[in-house]
Every structure is written in C-alpha cells, then in structure tokens.
C-alpha cells in the first residue's frame, strides 16, 4: 500500500511521447507545475493534452504548448492563450473544444465504468455534430462518450505515503475526476505527510488510484 515518492524527472520519463495526458488545473490553478517543468526539460513531443484550458503562454499547460510538447488539445476554452490560437490556425496543433461540464462528465464516465453520459448541453449547436441525439421522457440529450487517458498528472494539496490526496479551494477543479480516468496516475502534492495524518473523511482521492507520488528535491 505504501508508495515511495519519485522525482518529477523520473515521472516525466514515464510519460512517453505521443501519450494521451490529462492534466488538472483551471487557468493554471491546480496544475502540477513541477511535472510540467520536467516534461519541458526532457523535451516531450506529440502529447495529446486533456484539460479545462491552455491557461496562458507562461502558465500551466500553456508552457507545454509554448515549448512545442503538444500535438493535440481537448479542452473547453483556449481564449486566454494566443499561442494555442495561432498554432491551431496554422494547423500545427489540433484542438477539440468540449463544453466544460461535458468534459468533466466524460472524464468521470471514463473513470467510473460508464458507457457515456446523456446531457442537454450542446443540443442544437456545433457540439452536437456527429453525435447521437436521444429523447428521454420528452427531453432531448446528446450522447457523450467516456474519455480516458494513458496518464493523469494531478496537483494535490496534501498526500500521504498511501497516495491519499486532498485538494485546496479552487485548485481541486478537474484533478479528482482525472484521478479515476487514466492508466497511470501521477500526483504532485504540495506536501507529503506520514500515513495517518490525513483523516479518512478529508481524503478526496483514495490512494489506490494513485500510481506515483512526486516528491520535492531536497
């Protein structure tokens, strides 16, 4: 059950070029900055990034875009990052835009073993193109399929050495759902505390979901 922490560099080496990678964060708040640094340092290439947004060119996921690590983005919003806009226009990266609530539920479905989600969001819009429209008791829904990834890179507040995670305020955002939806889950906590320090009721991501914890260099 106990997990020894690894370095951000060792974690970044696991994330192979071309992988599908979920990254927590909302405009960079709650993003795993040390893992992002390490991915840039190792010169990662061809990643598909799944997350809420691409933040700003010098912040969070935006730094991976700026460093040329990313081939494809699946996100709800890219309006704060002119680099993403430009690379998309130039055809240098692909972008799929997904409504924020739909993104959260598709990831949740992917991690919860569900075959998809029926949502009213996007009915009658470009988002509905190519999707099944289903009527339930007179209401119209889109069938949105589950999403999974090879890796989820999370930022947590505290972790214990069992991998249990807590989050703080608005830094939780997509991190808890992503913890369920990837084959390899790497969590970067602000602090790692001894097992038993985090009360069971405070744990928001059970440690069994976490593959690796990233420690701090001493």
């Amino acid at each position: 059950m106990r997990k020894a922490a690894i370095t951000a560099e060792a974690a970044a080496a696991l994330v192979v070029d071309g992988a599908r990678v979920m990254i927590g964060g909302f405009l960079g708040v709650g993003s795993p900055d040390r893992l992002i640094d390490a991915l840039i340092s190792r010169g990662a290439r061809g990643l598909t990034i799944i997350g809420n947004d691409t933040a700003y060119p010098t912040v969070g996921v935006g730094r991976l875009i700026e460093a040329g690590c990313v081939a494809r983005v699946e996100a709800s919003h890219i309006g704060t990052n002119p680099t993403t806009q430009r690379l998309m226009s130039d055809g240098a990266i692909e972008v799929e835009l997904i409504p924020q609530g739909t993104l959260a539920e598709r990831i949740r479905a992917g991690g919860a073993g569900l075959g998809g989600v029926l949502t009213p969001t996007g009915v009658g819009t470009m988002v509905a193109q190519g999707k099944q429209v289903i009527e339930i008791d007179g209401a119209t829904f889109l069938l949105e399929k589950p999403m999974r990834a090879d890796f989820a890179l999370l930022r947590a507040h505290e972790a214990d050495y069992c991998g249990n995670l807590t989050y703080r305020l608005t830094a939780a955002n997509f991190n808890p759902v992503m913890a369920l939806a990837a084959d390899c889950v790497i969590a970067e906590p602000d602090e790692i505390v001894p097992a038993g320090v985090i009360p069971p009721d405070a744990v928001r991501t059970p440690g069994v979901l976490v593959t690796h914890l990233v420690g701090r260099a001493r």
Partner: protein, 219 residues
Amino acid sequence: MDAKETIARRVAMELRDGMLVNLGIGLPTLVARFVPMGISVAFQTENGLIGFSAPPPEGMANRDLVDAGGGFIAALPGAASFDSATSFALIRGGHVGLAVLGALQVDASGRLASWIIPGKFTPGMGGAMDLVAGAKRVIVAMQHAAKGEPKLVETLTLPPTAARRVSLIVTELAVIEPTDDGLALRERAPGVSVSDILASTGARLIVPDDAPEMPLGCD
C-alpha cells in the same frame, strides 16, 4: 454612468434573496458590485466555489483561490468548494437560479452566440453551453452594438451557444425580453428614446405603447 455600469446595475435588479447566481467573465462580473440592499445572494464560480467576493483584501490573496477569469477572490464565511464535476452538476442540474452571460449576438428567437467567430477567434465555450442549458434563468448582459454593428440580429450569423431561448437581454440602451412572437422591448435606459433603440437594433422589436425607464437602483 458608463454603459457597463448601466447594464450591471439593471441586471442586479433581477437578483432575488437566496438565489444561487453565476456571473460570466467580463461585464457580468460587475453585477456583484450592485446587489440591492436587503437581499443576500450566493455567487458561484464555475471552477469550484460558492460564496466569494472579489477582490480579496490587500495582501490576502491565495494562489489556490481564483474565479473563472483567473482573478483572486476571497472565500466568505460559509463558502463551499467542490470539484468541476460537482460544479457542473450544480449548473446543469437546475440548482443555479440565475446565470448572467455576455454574448456576441442574440437573435429574434432569443438564441445567443458567444463562443466562436469562425476563422477569426475561437476562444471556446468554457462553461457557457452548460450554463445556458441548465440555469433556471439566463440573462444576457451585453453592449447593444459592437463597432457600430448591431448585436441583436434577426438570425444568428455566428454558431449558437444553445438552442434554448434566453430569459432577458439587458444592454446600456434597453431591456428586451424574447417571447414567442419575437423580441419585446420592456424598458428604455434613462434618456434613451425608442427610436435610438430601434436605430441600433438589427432585429424586429415589438414596441409597447409606453416603454418605462429602467430602474438602476441606488448606492
């Protein structure tokens, strides 16, 4: 009073005691400054918090506490934080009493466009599609025209944000309600005539015999 303040003050008159309210990024966030005396509302920020005020007191910002525009906020006593799935369950599930959103266009059927100008700018929808699909009431808060071009149009030329008809449109010139018969003029801004409104509106407006001046509250 500038255009944005007029819009924010008039939208604030739609707040009701006990409402859960979601304000979009930009102009809609100004509404929080004009909550009428004697009522209490809870503001939600879609990135995962109910119960905040902005900005935080000088020197009391926290890097993990921001609104949906990335600006620092203060969590009020009684605030609750949650993840994105819960936040959008609140939004889609009809728990939000009022959503206030900006728009690029609104058409005669009451649909709004707000997330893409094909070939020019593609910010993305963020949470807007979920908010329009799920909030009990949706108010569009926008300037009446942009660069001389009307934003109220007969039929959207930009991709819609939802199929749903919005509840109310508030601009610096007028309050307009989409109805089965089309866009109905409800109120004029102080000093603005019906012909001023018609001149900068690109959709047919149903004009009543007497459109009253909009209430803007007081400080």
